[in-house]
């Protein structure tokens, strides 16, 4: 068993929030590093991957990594054009994300680095690049077993289960949980009693698929972008209200939850209020779930 650590490099959703009022939590967009010995796994390539890249080129122990992408929305890939290891020879970067084959993944990764949006393309990367095409929903990277599932977010989006050192970490940066319940509630009047009975089965089915990914996780890093007021205005945008995230985590018997993909409009004081309310909900439910606000720079031993 090698020593493993997880570090948050970017915790924001939508766009970077480099405002002085936000820096206690952090302003960079999604990027989480998991390092196990010499094996480096990077979850998403938002602006958080830029300072990670700057740190990587200062050391000489690691020269290879696997970058797993949940999807290709800007806040998850916009750090790549400024990721220094990609522009340095003798580095090797393996990529995996949604896409029918390695060529499709390469196309998605490269698409943002094209004129007139960016001056140089991925053909200027000097690092060796490799695009993975696993045969199933599970593959191994060094000591890490990685599994992916389709989740609720516009376009094909993955949630990842990473197993290492006997611990299970779930990275689901963008997922609108309890989507079906909300849809049923919104359209409740349209349906008969008999149909509502069938919908209960439908909800069970949906929960089962979410449970398959989250169940008994030691660490769940999950979308919690909105307060309930903001979620009311932004339902169907593909992100969760933190209250739904907490309820889902409790239901799935998760041990530690890191609320993630914070809305860029929420400053440190707002995030503190969310944390306080989260802990109140957990206490009222008598759950043993431990809830954290994911903050840039936080390191967890695994």
């Amino acid at each position: 068993m090698s020593k493993a650590q997880l570090r948050f490099w970017g915790v924001r959703g939508s766009y970077a929030a480099p405002f002085s009022s936000h820096l206690g939590v952090g302003g960079n967009t999604s990027c989480v590093e998991i390092r196990a010995g010499d094996h480096l796994l990077i979850c998403d390539a938002g602006t958080g991957i830029i300072p990670l890249g700057n740190e990587l080129v200062q050391q000489d122990k690691i020269r290879e990594m696997l970058v797993i992408l949940t999807h290709y929305h800007w806040d998850h890939v916009c750090g790549l054009p400024f990721f220094v290891p990609a522009f340095v020879p003798d580095w090797k970067i393996n990529f995996f994300g949604p896409g029918a084959n390695p060529g499709a993944i390469e196309e998605h990764v490269s698409a943002q680095m094209k004129a007139p949006y960016f001056p140089v393309g991925t053909e200027t990367w000097l690092a060796e690049t490799n695009y993975l095409s696993p045969k199933s929903d599970s593959f191994q990277y060094g000591p890490m077993k990685i599994n992916f599932s389709n989740v609720h977010h516009p376009g094909i989006t993955y949630g990842y289960k990473i197993e290492i050192n006997g611990k299970t970490i779930i990275y689901a940066s963008d997922n609108e949980c309890m989507f079906i319940e909300k849809s049923i509630k919104n359209r409740s009047d349209e349906f008969s009693e008999e149909e509502h009975d069938l919908f209960r089965e439908m909800i069970q089915e949906e929960h089962q698929s979410e449970l398959n990914l989250f169940k008994d996780a030691d660490i769940l890093i999950h979308d919690a972008q909105y307060t309930s007021d903001d979620y009311d205005k932004k339902q169907g945008w593909g992100h969760s209200c933190y209250i739904d995230t907490i309820n889902t985590a409790i239901h799935a018997n998760v041990k530690e939850l890191y609320l993630f993909h914070h809305d860029p409009n929420y400053d440190d004081a707002s995030m503190e209020a969310i944390h306080k309310h989260s802990n109140k909900i957990i206490k009222e439910k008598g759950s043993s779930l431990v809830c954290h606000i994911a903050k840039e720079g936080t390191i967890i031993d695994i």
């Binding site: 029918a100 199933s136 929903d137 599932s149 389709n150 989740v151 609720h152 977010h153 516009p154 376009g155 094909i156 989507f179 079906i180 849809s183 049923i184 359209r187 349209e190 349906f191 008969s192 008999e194 149909e195 069938l198 919908f199 439908m202 949906e206 698929s209 169907g236 593909g238």
Partner: protein, 108 residues
């Protein structure tokens, strides 16, 4: 759909459905989007590459109702996108519309 005179074949994943679809062209293919491993729209994209399935009638029935997914479905020639929850009448009407199936009670 038990009240319709149709032969219904159900698969739990794209992987399970793929061998069947290699040798069968259904009158109607009902697809969900969130499936284990390969999602429904990716399965459909691959199916459309096969000459036998370029015109296969497809409807989506899914709880994953986002514009981005609806646009992909449209691009792949999906006839109807039915978001869950849906009434039993909605699904029956759509199946009848595209298969010309009869209600069993109509035949009795």
């Amino acid at each position: 759909m038990e009240n319709l005179d149709i032969d219904l074949t159900v698969f739990a994943s794209a992987e399970e459905a793929w061998p069947y679809l290699q040798s069968n062209t259904p009158n109607l293919l009902i697809l969900s989007i969130i499936l284990p491993v390969k999602d429904g729209l990716s399965l459909l994209r691959e199916l459309r590459q096969l000459p036998a399935h370029q015109e296969t009638p497809v409807i989506i029935v899914s709880s994953k109702d986002y514009t981005q997914d609806r646009n992909v479905a449209k691009e792949l020639g999906v006839l109807e996108f039915i978001p869950k929850p849906m009434s039993m009448q909605t699904i029956t009407d759509v199946v009848v519309k595209y298969t010309q199936a009869n209600l069993k009670s109509d035949n009795n």
